[in-house]
Symmetry: C2
């Protein structure tokens, strides 16, 4: 059951050489067979849906997931979004009614009872999950995840690296950077200060501050200040 170093090497190499989503799909299927688990999934988590995902879930489940916007209630997504370390599905919060319903439907669509998901984050707020899923008892699963934790982290990392390659918009350079003063302004707005307070704190006039805000809004293509803050945050231009 364990992946030997050689196996891992060859699989990662295959992944590195793949030049399309189809290539990633083949690698993930090979990995699934290798580990002998029910499912293996890499998916880019995004409000637009998992367009950059690949994995072994059925198309029906994938479609169902999108149709029902399960993204918003899936405890795996919610939980992983708050964590850095890989997490066993059992440790997530399944207490809400919606979550229990979700789990029931998932099972009907062939999702196994055990899961282990690794959150991965890229630049500009990119977020993805790499998930191993199977049906087995708790002890077997604990053994599996413990044995393969490190390999899985590495695999997740390589998958995300590949996925980012295929997403040109995520490549650096495209977006206009904010000037230091613009960053200051947006950051202070994001933490709740009013314009008057910020101007005072930055020791500039409120008018000057407005120029920064408007300039940032323009650079970010935002419709208003709140939108600009949201964009700056999701692009990783400011840290709150």
């Amino acid at each position: 059951m364990l992946v030997t170093l050689d196996n891992l090497e060859s699989l990662l190499s295959a992944l590195e050489q793949s030049d399309s989503l189809e290539g990633m799909q083949r690698v993930i299927e090979a990995l699934r067979a290798h580990y002998g688990v029910a499912h293996l999934v890499y998916h880019w988590v995004d409000s637009r849906g998992d367009q950059y995902g690949c994995g072994t879930y059925s198309d029906a489940w994938r479609q169902k997931y999108l149709d029902e916007t399960y993204l918003r209630i899936d405890p795996v997504v919610q939980g992983c979004y708050q964590r850095f370390h890989p997490v066993d599905w059992k440790r997530l919060d399944w207490s809400s009614k919606a979550a229990r319903e979700f789990a029931k439907v998932a099972a009907e669509y062939g999702v196994g009872n055990q899961g282990f998901s690794i959150p991965i984050r890229g630049p500009n707020g990119q977020f993805a999950l790499f998930t191993v899923n199977d049906t087995c008892d708790d002890r077997t699963w604990a053994g599996f995840t413990q044995s393969n934790r490190r390999d899985l982290i590495l695999i997740a990392h390589y998958f995300n690296e590949k996925a980012l390659e295929f997403e040109p918009a995520r490549q650096p350079g495209q977006q206009q950077p904010l000037s230091p003063r613009e960053v200051d302004a947006m950051t202070l707005i994001a933490v709740g200060y009013s314009r008057a307070q910020i101007a005072d704190r930055l020791s500039i006039s409120e008018h000057t501050l407005r120029v920064y805000i408007e300039s940032a809004r323009f650079k970010l293509g935002a419709l208003n200040t709140t939108h600009a803050v949201a964009r700056a945050m999701s692009r990783g231009l400011i840290v709150v």
Copy 2:
């Protein structure tokens, strides 16, 4: 020069068992000796400074870095912030005057000419760097980084996992969830709509909408709507 699997295992285990920054510091020193490089550094990159860092740079350099707010001009930080994959310092943009000056000063403080940095991201926009630094020629360095790339990624991951453990504010939990309508409201605000537009889109009165926004603001402990959006985003309650 290569880390064998056993060595890596024992070092990661030592890291897992450390329960303080001092423990991380000891591990990083052991790793540095092990790899035989000039410096090894993990540092949490933050507008407040690298309070959660550990590594082998001299105190003088660390202080200089903070005093001069090199964070804002350091091409390593800037470059890694835009990337997902580990990056060789040679591939970064050192063309600006400030960057060249920075490199000169760094060398004076004992920073080697070769560097390899791994960006790591956690929840809520957390961002850290794991850096290997040495003085040698390009070929030697290329060989070193290629051989150790995967191990270094894993080590970086484990260091960050540890650092997050020591930062209680980054732990999930204790926060009140938003109701579905509140999520709708906050999400639409975050993407730039005005209250009138949102009320129209959700087919509710603007007054009702206001109740949701205020309720969300209260739950999030936010000072105003923009602040609430920022908090909701950084807590992963809404996805934009």
